[in-house]
Structures are given as structure tokens and as C-alpha cells.
Symmetry: C2
Subunit: 243 residues, 2 copies
């Protein structure tokens, strides 16, 4: 499985993705699921993926080849004017992969299943965040729903539901996302470290605030231990149930 | 959906079940999913159910009718000597319902899907706890795995994974179970209050420590608000993430 979270806040966007892929429980590998494209000073995109790895890698390759190709005449992430158009470019790439591989997958009784969180900013617009489905269609985050999760989303949802505020600092939101990962990692083997993080500040048009967080990262270790202690302390401070 | 938790601890057993059933999101009702049978001073059983309500109710009815019937010659919950045998009686009831309804369900393209948490104590044995599957087979809780969850188990698993200890007091375990429910209720509409609770003390052979906890229960309100405040406070006490 996978776990990815994307947040759209007043100050920008936060992306966090695990790196575990597995075909069954006995075939586990590490793949980066957070792909970034940028033209510094003008546009930044981040794409996080869940689902069939062959499909998600093909989508990423198609999007990158479109940008690199000189003969490509269609819209690309680097040529579109809005994030909405960019999300349509991603959706079209999903449909292209389905056209290429869908029938063969069906013949092997494999579902064509992928989900993406896609966001970023193009000069002239606010940052935007989308969730893109297997059909290539998508929804956009709003002030009411400030985050999207894909993959194993349930373990880490309670902390996001409780703590997310639109006026959070990005470092605060990253801390929250890492706690959401910590809960998921403890309870589900199909989600694994390292975690790739991107903090995108509105109007920075730069993806420089990136970090890969490994299991022995001192900040993550402190956060994980501190949270456990705090939870246990909070737990003891609540009265016991009595009948 | 449903959410139920059963715990087997040194001091006894804890059972907690929500009461929401739904056929789609526009047909929601309240049904008790915690059924108790007891012969005070000798044996106590509790059964919590998840899955198709028609099936789970049929299983409960069969088990109750077996006990009430004078002509019944097979084993019943009141006649067996061990919890293992009692779990087999429950499993047989599941198979009986499949024999009665399975074909008709399949004809309507409905799955025969149920899961139970079943536990209790019979004089002469320690308390025991089982998870029973649609096939009527089952697994038993051990010192390594002290709890079972059925239904929407993911939201509420992190707190159980962190806090469960075999030497907990039952009131402490009930508090933990209610916090696990609180997280689930906040994040998933298909789980709903009231919550039915049973605390079974080892060798009490009595099911008197039962309570139904409604949304306006003062203890639950305090627990829910206190936990939210404690989590927010714990959150602020952890350093922010910086890149």
C-alpha cells in the first residue's frame, strides 16, 4: 500500500509520501512516490501516487517526456496557464496509460487502480491542490476540505481531523503530517519509511524545502517518542471509566 | 459499518460495540450488536457482530433458540464445557445460516459476510476471547495479541497499539476503548453512538458491569473533550519541523 497526505493552507502546500511498495507481503521495495517538476520563479508541481506502481510510474514518465519532447504539440505541465489545466494534463496521462495497458491488465484480472494528489502553483494563480482518480477526473481542495489522503488513510486521519487549521505554519503542518505517518507506520506494515516531504511556500515558486526523512532521523525519533509519551500522559490524566 | 473492540486482559474481558447499522448512507438505524448470555455463578458469554445484519441477527436467534428449546439435542452455549466448544457452537450457527440463506444471498449478488468477537468464561476455565469468521472458523486472543477489532478498525487502532497492557485495570481498558471509539466516530460516519460496554471481571461469572453510553453521557463528553485538549497541548509541545 501507500500513505500520502497533501495539505492546502493559507501559507502554502505540504506534501508527504511514504516510499514502501509491495507485491504481497514478501516482496517489499522502496520507491519514491513524490515527484516534483519545477521552473524556478514561475511554476512548481508535486505529484504523489498510490496504486499500481507500473501505472503510476508510466504516468510520471509520460508527463516528463512531454516536457522534454520538442515534437510534442499538446499541452504539458510547463506550457499550461493554470493548475486546473495542469491537473487535466495529469488526468490525460492517466487515460493514456489506460489506453496502453488497461486491456492487458484486465486480461490478467488486475484492476486499473491509481490515485494521485497533485498540487503546486503557477505564477498568476494561488497554490492549488487536487486529488486525481483512476478515470483521470479530479476534485480540488477548498477551505472546507484542506487535505487529501491517498492509500492507507484511516489510521492517520484522526490527528488531521483534530489539528488541521488553515492558518497553520507549514512547519506545524509538517509536524502534524509526520504524526499522522507515525500512527500509520505503527499500525500498518504496508506503509514504510523513509518519508519524502515538500513544504511549498506560497509565491516562492521554488521546491527547495524538500527533505527525505529516514527512520534514524533525529527529529522524527524525537517526535515519535515525544508523542508516545504525551499520549500516555494524557491518557493517565483522564478519569477511569466506572460502572 | 460497525466498530467493535474486545480485549482479554489479566483481570478479565472488555467488550465495546457501536450500534449503527446502515444500508447505504441514507438508511441508518440503531441496533444492539453486543449480545450477552449468562448463567450467573457459572458462565457468561458476550458476542459482538459486524457485517450483514440479517445474518448476525439470525446467528443470535439460533443460539438463543438452542438454549430455550427442550427438544434440542446438540450442544448449546449453556451445555458446553469450554469456551472453545462454545466458539464452535457459534461457528456452527454461522454455517447453519449460510446453509439457509447463502444461496439466496448469492442470487442477489450479496456476500455472505460476517465477523464476530466472542468471549466469556465458563467455571473451571480462564476467560477466553475469540474472533469468528464468515466460514465459522475462529482464532483466539493470546498474551501477544490481547485485542480483536471488527468493522471500521483502522481509525481506532493506533491508540490500542500504543496503550494496551495486559495488566491494565478494566476501567482503564474501557477508557482506552472509548478513546478508540472517539477517534473512529469523529472520522467515520458509518460508526455511531450509543456504545454498549461490558466489563467482565475474571471469576465473577456475572455480566452486571454493563452500560450503554449515549452521546450526552457526561463521562464520555468529558473524555472526548479532555482528550482533544490533551492532544492539542501535546501537539504544541513538540518542536516544529524545519528544513
Amino acid at each position: 500500500m501507500t500513505y500520502c497526505v497533501g495539505l492546502k493552507l493559507d501559507r502554502g502546500l505540504v506534501f508527504a509520501a511514504d516510499t514502501r511498495t509491495n507485491a504481497g507481503v514478501d516482496n517489499i521495495a522502496t520507491f519514491k512516490k513524490l515527484k516534483i517538476w519545477e521552473k524556478p520563479g514561475e511554476r512548481v508541481f508535486a505529484l504523489m501516487s498510490s496504486g499500481n506502481l507500473a501505472i503510476t510510474q508510466s504516468v510520471v514518465s509520460i508527463l516528463s517526456e512531454q516536457i522534454a519532447s520538442h515534437s510534442n504539440k499538446g499541452p504539458t505541465l510547463m506550457s499550461v496557464d493554470t493548475l486546473f489545466q495542469a491537473a487535466r494534463v495529469v488526468g490525460s496521462a492517466v487515460r493514456e496509460v489506460r489506453a496502453l495497458d488497461g486491456e492487458a491488465l484486465a486480461a490478467s484480472a488486475e484492476n486499473f487502480y491509481v490515485t494521485f494528489i497533485f498540487g503546486g502553483q503557477i505564477m498568476g494563480e494561488e497554490p492549488r491542490l487536487f486529488q486525481i482518480y483512476s478515470a483521470g477526473n479530479f476534485i480540488e481542495a477548498t477551505d472546507d476540505t484542506m487535505f487529501f489522503q491517498i492509500g492507507e488513510h484511516k489510521y492517520g486521519k484522526p490527528i488531521l481531523d483534530r489539528v488541521t487549521r488553515h492558518d497553520m505554519r507549514l512547519g506545524e503542518a509538517a509536524k502534524m503530517a509526520l504524526l499522522s505517518f507515525d500512527s500509520t507506520l505503527r499500525s500498518n506494515l504496508s506503509v514504510g519509511m523513509p518519508i519524502d516531504l515538500l513544504l511549498y511556500n506560497t509565491d516562492s515558486f521554488s521546491a527547495e524545502r524538500q527533505k527525505r526523512i529516514s527512520r534514524d532521523d533525529p527529529y522524527f525519533q524525537e517526535l515519535s517518542a515525544g508523542w508516545s509519551n504525551a499520549l500516555r500522559k494524557a491518557f493517565t490524566e483522564i478519569d477511569e471509566f466506572e460502572i
